[in-house]
Symmetry: C2
Subunit: 336 residues, 2 copies
DNA sequence: TCCGTTTGCGCAATCGTTTGCGCTTTATAT
DNA sequence: ATATAAAGCGCAAACGATTGCGCAAACGGA
C-alpha cells in the first residue's frame, strides 16, 4: 500500500504529471484544462485518497506553511495561553506551528531558530530570551520575524507586547486610589524588559503621587515563588511594614500569600496585594486577587495576523515592521 | 546573500557535490575521503555558515526528525504541562514538535493528523478526541503512533495513560478512610474514557466499602466550572446532603468551591472535597485541596521514549505496541 | 611490464512537486 | 482555402540533498 503520488495518478489516468498537478492544485481552469479531464482526474485522486507530499511541495515552492514559535517556558500559564491563541489563530490562516520551549536559555533559542531556518519556516514568532538583538536581526533579514512579550529598544525588529509601563503605573495608581501610601514592589528578573518597564511605570506613578505622601520600595530578583516569599517575609516583619504590595508575577504572588499566611497577616486588612497576569485560579484564592491582566488574546492575534501579512507581502519594498504595545487591563478582586 | 547549498560549496572548494555531502554529513571517513579534503571542506562550509536544507534532506531520506502532537486544549494546564514534557523530551532526542490544538473536535484531529502525514512526520503522539479508533488505526499502519491520556479498549493501538480506575478508587478510599460515608462524585463527560474509568474505580471502592455503610451518588456531565457549580448547589441543598465530594477535574472543583462559598459551607467541616489533577494553585486555595495527581512527567517521558523507539526500530517485524497505565498519586491538602 | 588492489572521488539517478515554454489540434476569421 | 488564434496538454528543468556504482590514479607484487 504505497502512497500515491502525482506520478502514480498520472499513470492511472493516462494524463501527464503536469496536468495532474495542475488539476489537483486547482489550477486546471487557469491552464485551460477541459472540465471533463478535471473531473476525471479529481475523481481518481479522491478515490485513491491522494495527499500531496508537502515536503516535495515545499522544496519546489519554498513555502512550508509553517511558522516557528519559541516560548521561554510553555509550562507557564501565560505562555501556554499565548501559544494556544497563536496556534489556533495560525491554523485558521492555514499555518502549522513548530513549537520550541527555550527554557529561558539563549543557546536553546539560537538552536531552535536555526532549526527553523533550516526547515524553511515561512515566519517566526519568538519570545526572545537574550539581551542582544543581533542574531535575531540577521535572521529577520531573510525570514519574517516578530517578537512577542519582550522586545529590544535599540532595534527595528517588529514586536507585539504588553505595555508593561502602563501596567506598572496602573497597579501603583490603583493602590494609591485605594488609600495605600507605603507601597512595595516585588519584582522578577530586573534585567528583563517587561520587568524594567513595570518597574518604571510603578516608579513613575509613585513619583507622580509623592505629594499625597506616597512612597515605595522595590525588592526581589526572580519570577519565583521563593523570591516572593523571602521578600515578603523580610518586608512584612521589618520596622517599616508596607501596607500594599505589587507583585510582578503570579509566582511571586504565591510566595507572598504563603508569607502572609505564615505571619498571620490578613489580605487586604493587614496588607493589600495586587498582582500581574491573569489566571482563573486567582478568583478562587481567598481573597480573590486584584491583578493587571496582560492582553494575551490581543497579543496573540496581532502577532499572527502581522506575521502572516509579512509572509504574504513577499518581497515588497514596503517592509512592515509593526511595533505594537497593547494596554493591559485591571481586574478587581478583593485583595486591595 | 543567497543561502549556501552543497552546490555552492562544491563550487567554492572544487570538489563534487557528492564529496561535499559526504564530508558534511560526517561520512567522510566511511567513504575514504582523505583528511585534508575533509578538513578543507569543513572549514569552507563553516566559514560560509552552511546549513543543510532540511526540506531537501527530508525529501530524499524520508526522515523529517519531526513528531506531530495533538492535544484537545493546550490552554488546559494538564495538557500544557504534558506538552511541555513531550517537547523537551523529544528535543533532547533530536526531534521537533508540530503542535495542534484539536479543541476536542474530531474533525480537527483528522485534519491535523492528515497534515502530519502529508508532512511526513516520523511519528505521532495524540490525545484522541474521537470515539472510534478506525482512522487512527489506518494511520498507525504507516506511521508510528502512540496515544496518550486516552485510549480505546477495543484496539491494539499503543498508549500511555493514567490508570484512572486506580485514581477513582484511591479517591473514594481516601474519603472512606477519613470517615466520610455519604459520598458524591461530580463527573465530566461521561463518555470519555478517563471519565468512565474514574467512575468505575470510584464505584468499585464504594461497593467494596459498602459494608461500612458507604454509599454514593454520581452526577454531572462536563468538565466545566459551571457543571461543578450546578451539581454542587443541587446536592448541597438537597435533603440528603453528601458529606464528601469527589470532583473529576480542577474546573469542576472550582465550581464546587464557588457553590460552597455561596452556601456558606466550610470545607472540609461541612463538606469534604477531593479533586483530580495537580496544579500549583491548589496549594494556595483555602484550604489546600487534596487531589489525585496524574503522573504527567512519566506519561510524557514514556510516550516520547516509546515513539522514538518505534521510529528508530524501522520496519522490524517486532512491532512494539506498548500499552501502559501509570498509577496516579495522592497529594494531601486539608480539604478532607 | 602487467595486473590486481586500494584509495579517492565523481556521475547521475532519485525523492515528489511545480511551472515556463512549446507542441499539437481544433476553432475562428478572412 | 489559408492564416491566425485559442484550447488542451506534455517535456523537461528545476528545488537541494543522498547514494549506488564506477572510474582513474597510485601502488605493490610477481
Amino acid at each position: 500500500m504505497k502512497k500515491d503520488t502525482l506520478l502514480s495518478i498520472s499513470e492511472k489516468t493516462g494524463f501527464s504529471i503536469s496536468t495532474v498537478s495542475r488539476v489537483l492544485s486547482g489550477k486546471g481552469p487557469q491552464y485551460r484544462i477541459c472540465q471533463k479531464t478535471i473531473d476525471y482526474i479529481t475523481e481518481v485522486a479522491q478515490s485513491c485518497n491522494y495527499m500531496p507530499n508537502l515536503i516535495a511541495q515545499s522544496l519546489r515552492t519554498n513555502k512550508t506553511n509553517t511558522i516557528g514559535l519559541t516560548v521561554p517556558n510553555i509550562d507557564n500559564p501565560f505562555f501556554s495561553t499565548l501559544a494556544a491563541v497563536i496556534i489556533n489563530q495560525t491554523k485558521r490562516l492555514g499555518y502549522n506551528i513548530l513549537l520550541t520551549d527555550t527554557m529561558e536559555n539563549e543557546e536553546n533559542e539560537v538552536q531552535a531558530i536555526n532549526s527553523y531556518v533550516s526547515r524553511s519556516v515561512d515566519g517566526i514568532i519568538a519570545v526572545p530570551v537574550g539581551s542582544a538583538p543581533d542574531y535575531l536581526e540577521t535572521v529577520a533579514r531573510n525570514i519574517p520575524l516578530i517578537l512577542i512579550d519582550r522586545y529590544f529598544d535599540n532595534t527595528s525588529l517588529p514586536y507585539v507586547c504588553t505595555d508593561n509601563y502602563s501596567g506598572g503605573y496602573m497597579a501603583a495608581e490603583h493602590l494609591v486610589n485605594k488609600g495605600y501610601r507605603n507601597l512595595m514592589a516585588i519584582q522578577g528578573v530586573p534585567t528583563s524588559m517587561p520587568n524594567k518597564e513595570r518597574h518604571r511605570g510603578f516608579a513613575q506613578a509613585v513619583a507622580d503621587y509623592a505629594e499625597r505622601g506616597v512612597r515605595a520600595r522595590v525588592a526581589g530578583d526572580s519570577f519565583s515563588v521563593d523570591n516572593g516569599y523571602r521578600e515578603a517575609v523580610a518586608a512584612l516583619t521589618s520596622e517599616d511594614k508596607p501596607d500594599a504590595i505589587f507583585v510582578f508575577s503570579t509566582t511571586i504572588l504565591l510566595g507572598v500569600i504563603k508569607a502572609a499566611k505564615e505571619l498571620q497577616l490578613r489580605i487586604p486588612e493587614d496588607v493589600a496585594v495586587i498582582s500581574f497576569d491573569n489566571n482563573r485560579f486567582l478568583d478562587y484564592i481567598d481573597p480573590a486577587i486584584t491583578r493587571v491582566e496582560q492582553p494575551v488574546n490581543t497579543i496573540g492575534k496581532l502577532a499572527t495576523d502581522n506575521i502572516v501579512r509579512m509572509i504574504e507581502k513577499g518581497d515588497d519594498k514596503a517592509i512592515i515592521t509593526p511595533q505594537i504595545l497593547v494596554r493591559p487591563a485591571l481586574i478587581e478582586g478583593r485583595s486591595c
